[in-house]
Symmetry: C2
Subunit: 220 residues, 2 copies
């Protein structure tokens, strides 16, 4: 229904086929900052123009649509996160080890790319059609990796992973913890991210009944 016509060029309006584009990255970073604060719908292209110093019309050299701008932010940010996580999983280890790595990476990445990842988390549904599907696919990949770990902890065989609602729910509970952080994290108050990760792992693995995790200052 909602089609998009990527006419030959592969993402942005003008040329720019190079892997990394510093000016575009800068632009996307600023746009993400605005969208993280005011939301996609409330952020105008004119806001982006003012904040970046680029003229209103000039922006359309970098993206062909407002929605395309959002897509570029999400694709790049989420893509990089998933690459990171893929590498982390490739390192192997038992389920708990991999889970801990995943959570820590996620939290570290979220600290370094707060605005961008917040936009990824909140504004998926502002995309439509192909663009929506492309990002949804990335999310599905992430979901499956975590679900596999949950299933492994519980000893659920891989072929029953899809049909077992308990694995699905537990996985989504964990994602809820991870993603909800954007609503409350306060850099000053909640300082060491790795400790946050440890606390989360402690809750996920052993629950409240095991008591609070140790209050030490730092670890690896």
């Amino acid at each position: 229904m909602t089609e998009l016509d990527r006419s030959g060029t592969d993402g942005n309006a003008g040329g720019m086929t190079s892997r990394t584009a510093p000016k575009l990255d800068h632009l996307l970073g600023i746009a993400a900052g605005l969208m993280a604060r005011r939301g996609f719908g409330r952020t105008s292209i004119r806001d982006v123009a003012n904040e970046t110093g680029i003229s209103l019309g000039g922006l359309y050299y970098y993206f062909k649509n407002k929605e395309d701008l959002l897509f570029l932010i999400q694709e790049r940010t989420f893509g990089a996160l998933l690459e990171l996580q893929e590498a982390a999983l490739a390192e192997g280890g038992d389920a708990e080890t991999r889970l801990r790595r995943l959570v820590r990476n996620h939290l570290r990445y979220f600290l370094d790319h707060f605005n961008e990842l917040k936009v990824c988390t909140y504004e998926l549904e502002s995309l439509e059609g192909e663009r929506y599907e492309a990002i949804a696919e990335l999310r599905r990949w992430y979901y499956h990796r975590l679900a596999e770990i949950v299933a492994e902890v519980w000893g659920v065989p891989g072929d029953r992973l899809e049909s077992d609602g308990r694995v699905r729910h537990a996985t989504l509970f964990v994602f809820g913890m991870l993603n909800w952080i954007f609503t409350w994290y306060d850099a000053d108050r909640d300082k060491p991210v790795d400790r946050l990760g440890d606390e989360m792992i402690a809750l996920v693995m052993d629950g409240l009944r095991a008591g609070p995790p140790p209050e030490r200052t730092e670890s690896s």
Copy 2:
């Protein structure tokens, strides 16, 4: 900075001081449905007019602002939920019992008022000034009630509750699980809500290491 001028009348533009207003409730329900689907920013007053059958101008008899419309939805929905939870807590019981009640109530309420509660969850930041503060206050109340339970499970004394980051984090992790549901819940797939609650309690209390919760069909 951003002031609102409630000139005498107490919330809506016209009169209407009665406790329950069926037509207003109907209106708010439809508005919540639109906002849940497309977000506050993307939902226009004209959309609400079309969907309700009330004329564009006529809507302003019920609220004085678009933001006021959002506020009314949040205040009523969240207010009712908190009343429910206050009553549930008043019933007493140990920490786990109260936690289970809280979670179950939350999930049941979320099923019955999906759109409205989704709007409450996502659109707090679309409010400003006094209206923002009023809703934020309600949320704070909810947070504290859950934090108290977490602290009780861990045996953290009430006066150290505020300063202990671990209580804060664990509480917010649980809220994350609860609120993230709006992004994935599928009425057909994830049928019995009470079981969802039990699975969540199982994870929160005992963690993944305790193994998956029993797969029974239903309980109380």
